[in-house]
Structure formats: C-alpha cells, structure tokens
C-alpha cells in the first residue's frame, strides 16, 4: 500500500512538473482578433481594406518603408532598396536593391525583375485597385540584377511614399504571381518577416515566421489572425486570454473598459480618419454658398469630440487631415455659431430654416457621429433627414451621386495631394468616368492641386497646397468635423520591439524583433 502511494505521488509530481514545463515554454504564437467577418482579398494590389492591410504589412516589403511605429513619410528608410537617387527635377529615380533577399516558400531570390513586375502590376487597372496612384509612372526598367530605374511623366509629391510598404508599393514575387495568376490571393507570396501558411474562410489566416528574412529570424514563430466580427466576443476573448491583440473601438468607453483588463495595453495611434461633411455645390439649396456656410457654422466640433471621447478623437482643422505633408492650420475654418448660421439662412431666403437630405450608412461608428451632427444642425434651423442604409449600399449610392450631403471618414497616404485630388479635384467627381470620391462636385482649386503635384520646389508646393485648402474651404465644399485615431489593445507581455506611434497599414507592425517577454 505504502509503495503504491509513493508511486502514485511520484507519478503525480512528474505529471505536474511536466505540465508546468509546458506552461513555462516560451510563448511564440501571437493570436490577433480583428473585427471583421472575413478577409476581403489577400492580394495586396487589390484590397485597400483595413481587414487585409495588417496581414500585408507583416508579409510584404516595399522598395522603401516607413520606420516601424511611425505613420509619416518623413520616416522613410531603406527596405528592399539599400539606396536611391533621383535626377534634379525628380522624374528619374534609380534604386539599388539589397542582395540575397529571398521570396517566401522557395520562390527564389528577389531581383530587379520582381520589382519591375510588381510595380507594373500595381499600376495596371486590370490587376490592381491602386492603378490610379501610378498615373505619373512612365516606365520602370531593370538596369541590372540589382538596379531598377523608375521614370515619371512628371514629378509627383512623394514617389518614395508610393513605393513604400503600403498599397501598391508592396512588392510581390514575380514567379509566384505569374504562376498563380488570379489565385495569387489564395497564397500571397512576398519577402516579409512572416509568410502565408493557411486561410480558413471566416475563421483565420495563419502566418509562419520566415526564417530567411533578410533582417533576421523573427522571434514570433506563428501569427494566428482571427476574424471575430462580434465586438462583445472579441473583447471577451481578449479578457479570457485566448487572443493577445485586438482591433479596438474609437470610443472612450471602450478604451477605459479595456485598459482595466489585467495586463492590457491600449494603443491609440496615427493615422487619424478625418470625418468630413461633403456638400454637393451643384444642387439646391446647397448651391448657395450662404447655405453651405450656415451649415458649417452650425457644426460644433468641440461638442462632437466631447461626445465621442477625447481619448481617440480630436477636432479637425482643415479639409486635409492633421499632419499630412502640406496640411495647413492657417485656413478659414468657420467657427460654431448658431446665430450666424440662422442669419445666413435668412439672408439666403430661408428664414424658416431648410431641410436637406443625406444617405448614410448604418455602420455604428459613423452613424453615431451623424446623429450628433443632426441634433447640432437642428439648433440652427437645419433639418437633416437621414436615410439610413446598409454599408455597401451607402458606398454605392453616394458614388451614384444620390446623396446631396455625404458624411465620409477616411485616411489616405499622408500627403495633401492624395486627399485633395481624391476628394476635391473636379476630375474625381462622382458619377463620371474618372470618378474617385469628389462628392461635393468641388472645382475650387483644380489649378492649384495640379500645379502643386508637378512642382519640384518643396516650399512652392506647400504654398500651392495651402492656397488649395484655403480656396476649397472658402467655397465650403466640405466641412471638416473630427479626426478619429486607430485603437488597438494588446497584452503587456508582448514587446513589439519599437515604439508604437502609428502605422499607415492601420495595425501595429510586427517585425522580426517583436516577441513575448517571459
């Protein structure tokens, strides 16, 4: 009996120590929870969606990259290219590639052929959603195995930005992309620290560490990227420890609540999405500038920030988001003044106020903003009728020019040109063959926007962007309201390996140095 007891105890002890050794084993798998149903499209040249961008960021490199943790092109540093040079007017650029960079899954060394292929692919509207950004590209050629030359039709504000690890600048491996054709999105192949392993639709994407990564072996060995659309479930999974990092909400209450989860770090980071109210200047009564000004005076930015919470929201200052290259605070931003608003309406011949219509998404984060705006406008005698529609319907209807007032929130590549061109250049007017997202039919600053894009002198360029912003705001094509920053939360045992201030790809970057502290 005694012997039996001893044996049992020894066995139990062994079992316990085995179990604890398992627990003590270094944690190398990172589980991420993202608030979306499913992947949109895993081809980096096809999808601009938040849900896919994080993965692209971890799998791909650009010729250059924005330093991890930053969201501004002033932090551009070498990535696949070691060095570069341009001619005086910035129309011809030469890039010297890093040697020995390996494509994932044994697709061989990445050379200038891959760069040429990838950039041409990103510039081709048949294969890319970002072709519009490459309009100025004249040609790209391989000078030798490790040198490429990019020629432009005209200089552009940030060629390096265009070729950074963002959207069309993500470099895909030629052999893999050609071999797979349209199936490339089922097994994307790049050169980044993590490589695609598996996709289970609506469930997860699994990435494995790329041991041949040119900056060194990643310390995190596996990333499980889980699609968890229900906010409550995602938060609970984070609280229970099943998930190490989650996509958060731009809402003070969420931030406060999540910060209380034991061992949680809440990260509020750049870039901000600018919420703007675009007014169609060609339809009644909005064609009267006094009416547009009245609406602008009726919006209380401080009130909006107060309601949405200061933690992740700030007042907008211009029709270009704060911090973008070319952004200016020195613009005629109309202050909150309900009396002035009423006076302007009376002058315009609407002493009893006006009724305007908007088609709006039911997406909660945007809908709550719009409801506050509706209440604010009512104070000034402006009755805003909201027609709520589902999100995809919203996107299609506003592009058909059916909504005279459009509330749109967006972040773009942080150079004024992109925002100005997409939202305010008459070429981008919705429901035209060259449409992008000019909902207001604005044409107040076409000349300045075009001139600035081709201006090689940085100071003159900034001055042109300044004038463009002034003119657009004087014409009240759009009313900037608030800016909402990106919110993520992760467990404090995760060391990202850099200081997180932002990421254009809207999720914390994971590098070869990111690891779990044990």
């Amino acid at each position: 009996m005694k012997k039996f007891l001893i044996t049992t105890m020894a066995a139990a002890f062994a079992a316990v120590s085995f179990a604890s050794s398992l627990l003590a084993e270094e944690k190398t798998t990172l589980v991420v929870g993202i608030g979306f149903q499913d992947a949109n499209n895993l081809d980096p040249h096809q999808s601009p969606s938040v849900v896919d961008k994080a993965l692209f960021n971890w799998m791909f490199n650009g010729l250059v990259r924005i330093k991890p943790g930053q969201a501004n092109p002033e932090f551009i540093e070498p990535d696949l290219a070691q060095s570069w040079a341009s001619n005086a007017d910035g129309t011809e650029w030469t890039f010297n590639l890093r040697e020995g960079v390996q494509c994932h899954h044994g697709y061989g060394e990445l050379t200038s052929d891959d760069i040429v292929y990838s950039i041409n692919r990103a510039a081709d509207p048949d294969r890319s959603g970002f072709a519009g950004s490459f309009k100025a590209l004249k040609s790209i050629e391989a000078l030798d195995k490790y040198t490429v030359r990019v020629s432009l039709k005209n200089p552009i504000p940030s060629l390096l930005g265009l070729l950074s690890n963002y959207h069309g600048g993500n470099i895909v491996c030629k052999k893999a992309a050609e071999e797979m054709g349209e199936d490339f999105n089922k097994k994307p192949v790049g050169t980044g620290p993590f490589m695609f392993e598996e996709y289970q639709s609506q469930q997860l994407v699994r990435l494995k560490a790329n041991d041949d990564y040119f900056r060194g072996k990643p310390k995190i060995r596996e990333i499980v990227y889980r699609y968890i659309p229900s906010d409550a479930s995602r938060d609970l999974a984070f609280a229970s420890g099943e998930v190490d990092m989650i996509f958060g909400k731009q809402d003070s209450k969420w931030i406060e609540r999540t910060a209380k989860v034991p061992g949680a770090v809440v990260a509020v980071m750049e870039p901000a999405e600018l919420s703007t109210l675009y007014l169609n200047v060609t339809v009644k009564p909005l064609d009267d500038i006094r009416v547009r000004k009245a609406i602008a005076h009726a919006i209380d930015r401080a009130g909006l920030v107060k309601l949405k919470g200061k933690a992740a929201n700030r007042e907008a200052k211009s029709i270009v988001p704060i911090g973008y290259l070319g952004f200016s605070e020195d613009v005629p931003l109309l202050p909150y003044d309900p009396d002035k608003a009423r006076k302007l309406l009376t002058e315009a011949g609407y002493p009893d106020g006006i009724t305007i219509k908007t088609i709006h998404t039911t997406l909660p984060i945007m809908a709550t903003t719009m409801e506050v705006v509706q209440a604010q406008l009512r104070e000034s005698g402006i009755n805003l009728e909201i027609e709520p529609v589902e999100h995809a319907t919203f996107h299609s209807k506003i592009r058909e020019d059916l909504s005279p007032v459009v509330h749109y929130a967006a972040a773009r590549f942080p150079v004024a040109d992109v925002y100005l061109t997409n939202f305010f250049h008459s070429r981008s007017t919705v429901n035209t063959p060259t449409a992008i997202t000019n909902f207001s039919h604005c044409s107040a600053a076409d000349a300045e926007i075009d001139a600035a894009r081709a201006e090689p002198d940085v100071n003159k360029q900034k001055a042109l962007w300044q004038t463009a912003q002034e003119k657009i705001m004087a014409d009240v094509c759009g009313i900037p309201m608030i800016e909402a920053l990106q919110v993520w939360a992760y467990k404090d045992n995760l060391d990202l390996g850099y200081e997180l201030k932002g990421n254009l790809n809207l999720a914390p970057t994971l590098t070869e140095a990111s690891h779990f502290k044990n």
Partner: protein, 312 residues
C-alpha cells in the same frame, strides 16, 4: 408512401427554381456592387469597371441568369465573386457544422422541453406548473444574442470551462468543448418553445374521455401519461419542432457570430455584406432545400406517431 415522397421532392424542384429566380434578381436589385466592395474607396471607376468585366457583371442580365440556371441545374454553382473559390466547396465545408449545431440544439430542446411541458400539464396550476411557465416565458423573451453573451460571461470568463471563440474542427476535444455553449444557447430557446407547446397539447389530451376511462380502469398514472396521452399530444409538438427547425437555422446566424463558429449563418452574413452574388444564390438554394426536407420529414413523422395518417 414512396410515391408520396417522390411527388413531394418533384414539387420541391419547382420551389427551388422559384427561389433561385427570386434570389438571383433580388440580390441584384439591392444597391451595392461586389467590385466596389472588393476594391474599396481608393479605386477609380476604371479599376472597378475592369473588375466588373472580370466578374461577368457587365453581361446582360438575361445572359447572367441563363448561365446561372443552366449551370446550377447540372450542379455547378459557380465560384464566389469575392473569394474565387467554388461556392459548392465553401458551403459543403461549413454545412456539417451548422447541421451539427442545429441537431444538438434540437435534441436539447426536446429532451428538456417535452418532460418539462408534460410535468407542467400534469401539475396544472400547482407550483411546478407556475415555475415552468415563468421560466419558459423567460427563455422565450431572451434574444439569442443576449443569452449567448451571458453564457460566455459565466462559463468562459468566470468559470473558464469553455473557450470564447470556437475551435470547431480542430481535434475532437476542442470540437466538443466549442459546441457546448452555442448548442445550449440555441437549445434552451428551443426548449422554452417545446415546453409551452407540450404543456398546452398535453392539457388538451388529458381532458379527453379515454383518459378518464383509463383512470377508471385503474391504469397507472405514469402509463396513462407517457404511453397514451403524450403520444396523442405529439402531433402539434412535432409540427412546432419542424417549423422551428427552419427558424433555428436562421437563429444560428446570431449564434455563429457571437461564438465565432464557422457555419452557414456566418457565410451568409459575409456574402451579404460583400455582395457576393454567387455565394448568396448558392446559400439560398441550400436553405430552401433544408426547409423543404425538414417539412417532408415532419409530414412523414405524423404517420409514425398516428397510424390513422395516410399518404396518398
């Protein structure tokens, strides 16, 4: 009976064709464009048009309809517009999970609901009856997503017995651990329905003459209840269960989202928000087919319960 089944199945082909047509046009009437959704808000009109061409969305509607129906009839449901994978494969991959969830929930509903309902009927207007009625009413009034979150809070966060997010399909142990909470969440609502129907149906049966006769003859109470009365009370219960099964598959949408469990419900929500026309069409056919089959099974069950039911 076989000719009855065959006739019902043939009729269901007509139903399916009608649903197919309706769905085909409905999804296209709804504003929103798959190409726009895929390429997002940076895309130029040119890029969107190029993608529309590739997806075949620029062909005339009758051409698209003809291609769809003629392919569907030979079993080719096309490829998902968003993912590029065959619709059939995507559905077959998750269908067993939805069926599993629904069947287990159904089992919970019957195993809990029938005895409770019977007990309440037998103890009419006594404490047990009141308690069961209140609890079942509570079950009915709780929306599925609220009870789901409550279950998660108690069993996943406080007690840490089950995972928050489902790991269905990754090993047997994980699979069953992931099934418990979603099945309970759906099953308890079903149990509430079944309890109430069983109770009222049993009350009616208990008032019949043959029950009094049996009692007078000295048949034991348990035999009267379980052998005679319950069997007579079953037809309305089966009808409700059959109808509810269709609702249940709809309810599974919410359950699958809250528990992050793969299944038809999650697939359909994703397809809707992405305007994945081909996927929606395929899913609708499957849903219709399931409802048709469940109806046939319900009808056949009547014959099993009541020998007087004849299938002409």
């Amino acid at each position: 009976m076989y000719s009855y089944i065959i006739r019902r199945l043939l009729l269901s082909v007509v139903t399916l064709l009608a649903v197919l047509t309706l769905v085909f046009f409905l999804v296209r009437i709804v504003p929103g464009d798959p190409a726009q959704v895929i390429l997002g808000d940076h895309a130029t009109q040119q890029a969107i048009e190029a993608l529309r061409n590739r997806l075949g969305l620029n062909q005339p509607l009758y051409q698209q309809y003809w291609d769809f129906v003629s392919n569907a009839l030979v079993g080719d449901w096309g490829v998902s517009m968003v993912k590029g994978t065959p619709v059939f494969d995507e559905i077959v991959r998750v269908l067993p999970l939805t069926i599993e969830l629904t069947v287990v929930a159904l089992a919970i509903g019957i195993v809990v609901g029938v005895p409770l309902g019977t007990w309440a009927a037998v103890r009419r207007n006594r404490l047990a009856d009141y308690a069961i009625r209140v609890v079942s009413l509570l079950g009915l009034s709780f929306p599925a997503f609220v009870s789901a979150i409550l279950l998660l809070l108690i069993f996943s966060i406080q007690l840490a017995w089950f995972p928050v997010i489902s790991f269905a399909g990754t090993g047997l142990g994980n699979h069953f651990r992931s099934l418990v909470l979603p099945a309970l969440s759906l099953g308890l609502i079903m149990a509430a329905y079944v309890t109430r129907v069983t109770r009222s149906s049993m009350l009616e049966a208990l008032g019949q003459d043959y029950v009094r006769t049996a009692k007078a003859k000295g048949v034991p109470a348990s035999e009267i209840i379980w052998r005679h009365t319950l069997r007579n009370a079953l037809i309305p219960i089966v009808t409700v269960v059959g109808l509810f099964l269709g609702v249940q598959i709809g309810n599974s949408v919410l359950t699958e989202i809250v528990f992050n469990r793969p299944g038809l419900g999650k697939l359909i929500i994703g397809a809707l928000s992405q305007r994945d026309y081909t996927m929606l069409q395929g899913l609708m056919v499957v849903y219709t087919f399931i409802v048709v089959i469940v109806n046939i099974i319900t009808d056949l069950t009547y014959g099993l319960i009541d020998p007087r039911v004849k299938y002409e």
